[in-house]
Amino acid sequence: MLTVEALTVEIAGVQVLRGVGFTLAPGATLALVGRNGAGKTTTLRALMGLVPVADGRLTLDGRPLGAVAPHDRPGLGIGYAPEDRRLFSAFTVEENIRLPAEVVRLAEHEIKARLDAVYEVLPELGALAGRPAGSVSGGQGKMVALGRALMIGTRLVLLDEPFQGLAPALAQRYAEALSRLRRVRPDIALLVTESNPALLANLTEDGLLIERGEVAPRRLKDIMEDA
């Protein structure tokens, strides 16, 4: 479904990604594992069109993503939860989650249905719904960012270091939410970045090791043993 071929990204003249390539089938879960600065975030940002692509091809269902404006990509069913959450503090938690669906002008009944699905995966967001997004803790904010990504990500969901900075109890609940997501929506493709592969071991076996902007497919188990 998602195909990345020879993706090269330069930031200020420095090659941050060098010929990155991988594919993601519907329903697959892929862990993009690497150290800080290896290029994990840039890979996701390139998929969202937030950094210029120097070379390479990105396609979703055979459609070249390069021809799709960045703001039209969520409409293809791509949800993105950045590492630093980036919630809109002027809105409540529920308004933040709803916003991507409102932006693409989904009908109200469809928004309701998707919202219910989000709360099914992340039941603890129900209690936070009316809170200003600026007032929730960092860990809760990660959950909200996941909910917001799920609202529009019906085909592909990109999670950037979801466990980064989470207290152990919250990390546990976040992992449970991801397993619930896998059960409820087995058709969504998930691309998750992480510097600690052990955190994703329960979610998938497929890993992609990224080092200095170059990737190599590895089993998650092997990455953990090497580390």
């Binding site: 969202m48 069109g49 937030l50 404006a69 960045p70 703001h71 039209d72 990509r73 969520p74 409409g75 993105y80 950045p82 980036r86 809109f88 503090s89 002027a90 809105f91 308004e95 916003l99 991507p100 409102e102 932006v103 693409v104 917001r148 529009i152």
Partner: protein, 301 residues
């Protein structure tokens, strides 16, 4: 200073603050979304005023009902905001969004200079005075002071309506929510599907219309002369800086502070009149460098 003079100064200050607020809130809205300090904003004010006066004169010449001058004020603002605003945003500003601040300032400054001359070409340099709306509404006597209904009722009412309306618009409509989202985080807004280019255009047109409305509503109360746009833009900068960039409610309070400060100075120490807005600004910024309501900017590296 007698209480009567103080009361008069308060009324003057309120009427003036209402006009300044309309211009300043447009400026601050545009800055919040586009991150461009629009020097040409004063031109929207001036051209809005001139066009409103011209429409008023045309209405009188055509023998139409003088009450039509009221919708003409709004028409003038909408025409200037949509036509001139769209033209400037599409033809110039959208090419400099990612460029350095200095270049953006120079571009809007150039637009301002050009529009100043356009204004002289179209309306000449002789003062215009067209006060039909002011006269139509008559005067009111407040504790022995006569004051025009237009300045004491219409101007503050419109300013209040804009404040509340803008708040509701930004909070409850989809277009308003998108503007709010882009103001806070342009890139994340893109990542959830917001077409920032369109939001920029809509915001610029709204801001330009508000400035033109300030000018149109000011036109019955003053002589229109070349340079009025420059005066207003400098004053609006003071208001916006005092309030904190991008702050809607803050702009209202700062406009009130500066409007009242200025009108009291007129009665107490006239020689300080032009200085007072900047004194207020300097005092506020000494205590709160980010402005009354501003939040310290996070630096993204």
């Amino acid at each position: 200073m007698t209480w009567q003079l103080a009361f008069l100064a308060t009324l003057d200050g309120l009427a003036y603050a209402a006009l300044v607020f309309m211009v300043a809130v447009g400026l601050t809205l545009i800055f919040g979304v586009l991150r461009i300090l629009n020097v040409a904003h004063g031109s929207f004010y001036a051209i809005g005023a001139y066009l409103a006066a011209s429409l008023g004169i045309a209405i009188a010449a055509g023998g139409l009902s003088p009450w039509l001058t009221f919708p003409a004020l709004i028409l003038a603002a909408v025409l200037v905001g949509t036509i001139l605003g769209t033209l400037i945003e599409r033809a110039l500003l959208r090419y400099v969004y990612l460029k350095e601040d200095v270049l953006q300032l120079l571009v809007t400054f150039a637009v301002f200079m050009i529009l100043e001359d356009v204004q002289r070409l179209v309306w000449g340099v002789n003062p215009y005075f067209e006060a039909v709306p002011l006269r139509l509404l008559g005067n009111i006597s407040l504790g022995g002071i006569f004051y025009t209904n237009y300045q004491i009722l219409v101007l503050p009412a419109v300013a209040l309506l804009i404040l509340v309306g803008l708040r509701l618009f930004l909070r409850t409509t989809l277009a308003g929510k998108l503007i709010t989202a882009v103001t806070e985080d342009r890139e994340m807004a893109t990542a959830i599907g917001v077409d920032t280019g369109r939001v920029y255009l809509i915001t610029f047109v709204i801001g330009a219309t508000l400035a033109a409305l300030g000018g149109a509503l000011a036109s019955p109360t003053t002589s229109l002369v070349p340079g009025m746009g420059a005066d207003m833009i400098v004053l609006s900068f003071a208001v916006v800086a005092t309030a904190g960039l991008g702050q809607v409610e803050g702009a209202a309070l700062a406009a009130l502070l500066i409007g009242l400060g200025r009108s009291f100075a007129v009665y107490l120490m006239p020689e300080l009149e032009v200085l007072v807005p900047y004194l207020v600004m300097a005092l506020v910024l000494l205590v709160r460098p980010e402005g009354l309501f501003g939040v310290a900017q996070r630096r993204r590296i």
